[in-house]
């Protein structure tokens, strides 16, 4: 997809042509275009002959760079019985390669002073390394090496399965918030792969074989399924030459057609009640929500800010400050490629119940469905929206993450600023429309959590 602000730029095209001379087809580089990234920055968009996308934004404000590799694979690409494979595989990517014994990858990056990590979610997986500018060559070689020449052996797979099982205990099994979120998605999605957790069910984690992992690697870790994002103090020609040399010989893969099962419209409310080791009642609600690229996503996000954004929001004022029913409230419109959830969460104060939370929350929801919000409220949340965007762009890594995320999910690396423009255009009428379209009780799932009787806090 090409964003409206993208245009080809003669100098870059000539640079790409010069760099492609004498190269094998996979290593040739094409300048796809230039994209504005806000008022002060630009992104140069290149593509190698093997399909690898490269987004470059030069930012010399600090002598560092951030190197991201985004793969368009997440837990949505898994199958029942094999959930958690994308995430387990992310762990395995830090192990052995054909030219690097186990442990060497991290050691070389640390010796260079790098911060590195990775994340997997429903639609994507990404790896990032923030390094001093002198280490550009190292990070390009290392990332290309593991994209093409990872070695998978039984002992490492077994050990990493244990680590992931422990991560699951930490994030889900012994964490009430994680357990509630998992249950909410399982309840809300009956068909779509968004219904299973990215970390995977414990039985699936325990059951993975080295062959499972190798097949996943061959299928999805291909240059034509990846985007490199480089932001920082780099010279474009030098960077591109290094990328050509390191990745140019990596063969593209035959990406499978995704076996998508769209979620059918929900026609009646689903309610699940559980008891957990916790001290107070909890409530989680998931309304069927828009995809990230849906025209309603920005106005619904603004409406969510009016309801849940900060201490001056309606729900915080009503449930936390005035009625003193809740300790914490929060809402979030999921940012997934396919239709997701508008999540709402509330934690009851000791002595109060989930039923009270739900009743009070419903009153606030009914208000935004029944009548327009004030212009002043809308202006306030627009200001918060702008602040959040700017705060996320302070570091090279923050910028690279925005570019990689928006490109992988929406195909537009400057999508963060497109959203800001969309935000500025939102009217009170838009908020009323999205409230009435998306906040319908019949299309929501509700998870109610009660403490085990012995653990009720006084």
């Amino acid at each position: 997809m090409t964003s409206p602000t993208k245009r080809r730029e003669g100098g870059r095209a000539a640079l790409a042509a010069a760099l492609s001379e004498g190269q094998a087809p996979g290593a040739r580089v094409e300048h796809v275009g230039r994209v504005a990234f806000g008022p002060a920055m630009t992104i140069e968009h290149y593509r190698l002959g093997n399909g690898l996308t490269v987004l470059v934004s030069v930012d010399a404000s600090a002598p560092v760079l951030s190197y991201h590799t985004w793969f368009a694979v997440g837990s949505r690409h898994e199958k029942p019985g094999k959930t958690g494979l994308a995430h387990l595989f992310e762990h395995l990517m830090f192990n052995e390669t054909e030219n690097l014994p186990a442990g060497t990858f991290d050691r070389k990056l640390e010796e260079a002073g790098a911060e590195s990590n990775a994340a997997t979610w429903l639609d994507w997986t990404f790896y990032h390394a923030n390094v001093p500018r002198e280490s550009l060559g190292l990070v390009v070689r290392l990332e290309a090496e593991r994209m093409a020449r990872l070695v998978l052996r039984d002992p490492q797979v077994s050990s990493e399965k244990e680590v992931v099982a422990n991560e699951r205990r930490y994030r889900v099994d012994d964490d009430v918030e994680g357990a509630v979120s998992e249950l909410l998605y399982k309840t809300a999605f009956t068909e779509h792969a968004y219904g299973w957790p990215t970390i995977g069910w414990m039985a699936d984690i325990e059951g993975f074989t080295t062959d499972d992992c190798a097949a996943f690697y061959r299928t999805y870790y291909a240059p034509n399924n990846a985007t490199l994002v480089v932001v920082g103090d780099v010279k474009e020609r030098d960077l591109l030459a290094k990328i050509q040399k390191a990745y140019g010989a990596v063969q593209p893969g035959a990406l499978p057609v995704e076996d998508v099962h769209p979620e059918p419209p929900q026609t009646s409310e689903r309610l699940v009640t559980v008891t957990k080791t916790t001290v107070t009642d909890k409530l989680a609600i998931g309304y069927q929500g828009p995809a990230f690229g849906d025209v309603d996503h920005v106005p619904l996000s603004l409406l969510s800010e009016i309801l849940f954004g900060g201490r001056s929001s309606r729900v915080h004022r009503a449930l936390v400050q005035e009625a003193e029913l809740a300790t914490e409230v929060r809402g979030w419109v999921s940012t997934y490629r396919d239709a997701g959830l508008y999540e709402m969460h509330a934690v009851a104060r000791p002595g109060h119940t989930s039923a009270e939370l739900l009743e009070a929350l419903d009153r606030e929801i009914e208000r935004v469905v029944a009548a327009p919000v004030d212009e002043a409220e809308l202006a306030k949340v627009k200001a918060r929206f702008e602040l959040a965007l700017v705060q996320g762009l302070e570091t090279a890594s923050g910028k690279a993450e925005q570019m990689g995320f928006f490109f992988t999910v929406l195909g537009d690396p400057s999508g963060a600023f497109a959203r800001l423009e969309a935000c500025r255009r939102v009217t009170v009428s838009d908020l009323l429309r999205v409230a009435r379209r998306w906040l319908r009780p019949r299309s929501r799932s509700v998870v109610v959590v009660h403490p085990e009787p012995a653990q009720v806090a006084s």
Binding site: E110, E394, A457
Partner: protein, 423 residues
């Protein structure tokens, strides 16, 4: 004032900080400093709490209040165009807080709810009970958020009396970074400081903690845990002490990187814990050197035994020249990410001022790291590695693993079991 201009984004970060923290809480009034600081946004002359909050949001600003044992920091991020309006609001909040009785009641009840809710978080339970036992009788062992019983004793009179002790003009620091000129920043900082009550001065003295000798275990008993949280700790070292930098490098070898000894043995080889790390903490006085892991309940005892063995080896044999060279390169090169934004750069001298650190603590970081010798690391590790005098805090289900955990700790001098909901 600490200042750095950066025009890359239309954003300004502003911190007003004072070297007076929760250690100043009067006996029986734990939490008073934090409550007083939080009351600043709960109403000022002519504005209710709701109006203050709405104004902050409308300006495109974000406000947070951090209270540590030794300092109070009020932090603001704001879109540049609203900077003057935000400072107008801040001046009013600082100069004319109303400390409304009804708002105070709300805040205290809200704080009680937060304390109870925190029992759901096993990591924070481990930290809290580690600190409570390790710094027993010292302000560092108190909870900055207070306890249910102490919050219930706090009155409006307490807050009104505490406010000028906490937020007084002399001793206040302002750090500003972002899209603003130095002259404008200085004028804004002057306005803020002048809004504070007159008075103050040098930071109140905090005596150095002296943890109890012997090996001790605090087991925080919580039902149905499939996993444990384990903190092993001993007395740390302050940056004023010569052994500080050698100990920092030695600890980085032990547990400060993804390829450290601890991570390799606990995670990479055995898969026992998702994370494993060690660090040297400090405040205005020495804090603790701590080692953190979170293995499955079935592996908890073996993991503690392994960690104690690794600590003994570290203490007895120190680190190798190759390990030292590695972490030296890591620390020197990764320092770029401690100073890669204007906001971070002004934060470093601010910390020096608040914690009374040596003036070159951050500014000569690279030289400090490069100056550490192998001999100095061996001496620091031998002297400070947790060994004879240490505390182990474990969050888990005592009926399932309590005796195995106790048996895994040789020469245990004292063991106690604390219900997870005891505070």
């Amino acid at each position: 004032m600490f200042f750095e201009e950066c025009r890359a984004l239309p954003l300004v970060s502003l911190t007003l900080a004072l070297p007076v923290g929760a250690a100043l809480d009067p006996p029986g009034k734990d939490g008073l400093t934090r409550v007083t600081a939080r009351m600043l946004r709960r109403g000022c002359r002519g504005m209710t709490s709701a109006e203050v909050e709405a104004r902050i949001d409308a300006l495109g600003a974000e406000v947070s209040v951090d209270v540590s044992q030794s300092s109070v920091s009020i932090n603001f991020d704001v879109i540049e165009r609203s900077l003057d309006d935000l400072v107008d609001l801040l001046v009013r909040m600082l100069a004319e807080p109303t400390f409304d009785e009804r708002e105070l009641g709300r805040l205290l009840r809200e704080s009680e709810g937060e304390l109870i809710e925190a029992r759901d978080n096993d990591r924070s339970l481990a930290v809290r009970h580690f600190r409570r036992a390790f710094f027993e009788g010292h302000p560092y062992g108190r909870r900055t958020a207070g306890q249910l019983a102490t919050l219930r004793t706090i009155s409006r009179d307490d807050v009104v009396a505490h406010f000028p002790r906490m937020l007084a003009r002399h001793g206040a620091h302002v750090a500003i970074a972002g899209s603003v000129s130095e002259a404008r920043a200085r004028a804004l900082a002057d306005r803020l400081v002048e809004a504070l009550p007159d008075g103050g001065g040098p930071a109140p003295a905090i005596v150095a903690p002296s943890p109890r000798p012997g090996r001790r275990l605090v087991f925080v008993d919580k039902p149905e845990r499939t996993q444990t949280q384990i903190i092993i700790g001993a007395r740390g070292v302050h940056p004023r002490e010569p052994s500080f930098w050698p100990l920092v490098l030695g600890t980085t070898v032990f547990g400060g990187t993804f390829t450290s000894r601890l991570m390799r043995e606990v995670r990479s080889k055995r898969g026992w814990s998702y994370g494993a790390s060690a660090r040297v903490g400090y405040d205005r006085q020495p804090d603790a050197l701590t080692v953190w892991t979170f293995p499955a309940a079935k592996d908890a005892a073996a993991c503690i035994a392994l960690e104690l063995g690794l600590l003994d080896t570290w203490r007895d044999k120190g680190v190798t020249a190759r390990e030292l060279a590695f972490v030296r390169r890591y620390l020197v090169r990764s320092h770029a990410f401690e100073i890669d934004t204007a906001h971070k750069r002004v934060g470093l001298p601010l910390e020096v001022a608040l914690l009374d650190l040596p003036p070159t603590h951050h500014s000569a970081f690279v030289e400090h790291v490069r100056g550490v010798t192998l001999e100095s690391v061996q001496a620091a590790v031998a002297a400070h590695a947790p060994h004879r005098d240490l505390l182990i805090a474990v969050v888990g289900t005592h009926a399932d693993i309590g005796s195995a955990v106790r048996d895994a700790i040789p020469n245990l001098a004292d063991a106690s079991v604390v219900p997870f909901d005891s505070e």
